[in-house]
């Protein structure tokens, strides 16, 4: 059945009946506003996914799309050292959308939300020329807020997981590649892993001076962090963590995509040299790879990347900007 046959309100009523009750919420979906009390420090973020810009329906299942819509916002909460609590969902939906697909999208979103103890408390749905998903996510920080602006000269720079897989996954989706390596990076593009346990441990043990998630590409996001902290950075390209699939798929220009490609949603953070051992221990206990990739330098030294011979790399791609090409 198409959404225009069922109608907006019958769809929303069906959805509402499926939402679990949540004692933290005085008033959830179904009134003009949600109402709730938010003790302590609240962190809040909003991010959108737009059909034809961030995804194509033929590349992803509706369930995975819902999971990703939650994950990209949850990653911003994790980058502050927070835990997600409440979500609002603003949807633009083409009238010809199948009700089944929209329900599958909600299944994915709600499954991901539930996994992290997050309740859907509000939203809206309207007609649109393409599928547009805008999420607002609230979170709480129990161990203080980790910002972008606390990096200090001499700090070491770390990143979780591997870099460049998502951007390469996008390319493999565009090229229709289906071999095992391509499938590995496509999965990384279609639904990122949010690094919550690492984020929580880093926050709890106060190991971090500054943190950001890598959504626009390593260099772009490093640039944001350095500008906010008024520092420079020196990155060691051979240290960048690359997956086996990434290495196999990319022969030449090995680092370009890892440096510039967006949507990895890994955590990028700066910590004092004395924290090196504690961070190595955390990587072991969390089961999440954490790699030291460079160090913070004075702002006057700018942002630079060193190749295997110690010579500065000439950068061909500085990260993703929605509105600037090349």
């Amino acid at each position: 059945m198409k959404l225009r046959e069922l109608g907006e309100f019958p769809f929303l009523r069906r959805l509402q009946e499926r939402l679990p009750s949540d004692s933290r919420v005085l008033l959830g979906v179904g009134d003009d506003c949600a109402a709730l009390t938010l003790p302590g420090m609240t962190v809040i973020t909003t991010d959108a996914m737009i059909e034809g810009v961030h995804f194509r329906r033929e590349w992803t299942s509706s369930v995975t799309l819902g999971e990703k819509a939650f994950a990209i916002n949850a990653s911003d909460i994790a980058a502050m050292g927070g835990e997600p609590t409440f979500a609002l969902l603003s949807l633009g939906v083409p009238q010809e959308t199948e009700v089944e697909d929209l329900e599958a999208f909600f299944d994915g979103f709600l499954r991901a939300a539930r996994e992290y103890g997050t309740a859907l408390i509000g939203g809206n749905m309207s007609a649109a020329p393409c599928l547009m998903i805008s999420v607002t996510l609230l979170g709480q920080t129990r161990h203080g807020v980790i910002t972008r602006s606390g990096a200090k000269v001499g700090d070491e720079v770390y990143v979780t997981g591997t870099l460049g897989d998502a951007a390469l996954g996008l390319r493999m989706s565009q090229e229709g590649r289906t071999d095992a390596f391509a499938e590995h990076v496509k999965a990384r593009f279609l639904c990122p892993t949010v690094r919550f346990s690492v984020s929580q441990e880093l926050a709890m043990h106060r190991l971090v001076h500054a943190m950001i998630d890598v959504s626009d590409g390593l260099l772009q996001d490093l640039g944001h962090l350095c500008a906010a902290s008024q520092v420079g950075v020196l990155i060691d390209a051979p240290a960048l963590p690359l997956s086996t699939a990434y290495r196999a798929l990319l022969g030449e220009n090995l680092w370009d995509t890892a440096l510039g490609g967006g949507e990895d949603y890994e955590l990028l953070f700066c910590a004092a040299a004395e924290s090196r051992e504690a961070i190595a221990h955390l990587a072991q206990t969390s089961g999440c790879m954490i790699t030291r990739i460079g160090r913070i330098v004075p702002q006057s030294d700018g942002l630079s990347v060193r190749g295997p011979d110690g010579v500065p790399l000439r950068l061909t791609h500085s990260g993703f900007d929605h509105f600037r090409q090349g």
Copy 2:
């Protein structure tokens, strides 16, 4: 200059520099999340405007579009008896958009926000095939939360302002009419007045059992309120408040548009008969027309509208649903 020439991040930096600092906000625009403490009861809502669905750029200035994006969300906060406090803005923007137009949009949004003591604390911007504006607005309620679900049999039903102007204004925009009456209703469509002072007074004096804002049309929104309150309603069509322009523009089918047309963003509320005098007094002191249009009846009596002769009207339009035609 077009946005693709300036780029996303330079635009956002320029915008950020214009935002006033706000002592309530620990961390505003410019990190992964905003961070703040939210004492008391928080109300929160999200609503979207999509080019080609909710507006066309040739009908409205960018400033007015920004004001309306704030107003339609603020109206939801008012409908809970709340005051807006913090806003997040998620934008999808075509690459060919003029930077000047986007700045004018922000001017309008920020002007409206400032008028109601609201700070823009976060957002995101991405490329999109058409302009898409999704706002999340937080508010606080100092006098308790007014829901849709408290209407009681015997309550009287009131509405602020006049009904049907916005829907008629949309029609006048579509038809390109420019006479004085048409301009009056077009202005009501292009930027609604949020009924804050009435909402605050009603909340403070606890005059209201249930409230909703009229965004999808009187009957549709009455239907939501009655369903939530498990009551029915009897509306007296000749009592509906209609503007002079509305009466002049519509000869026949005088009530259809007032009953079914969306986007008036007036407050619709239910109060005990004993509050009649206090509400009449409030209308006088606030300078906002408040009209008694019907009464709450048992749920088994359903939702009905009586014409001038006391005979039930046959309804041709029951309100706006984005996905159902006719």
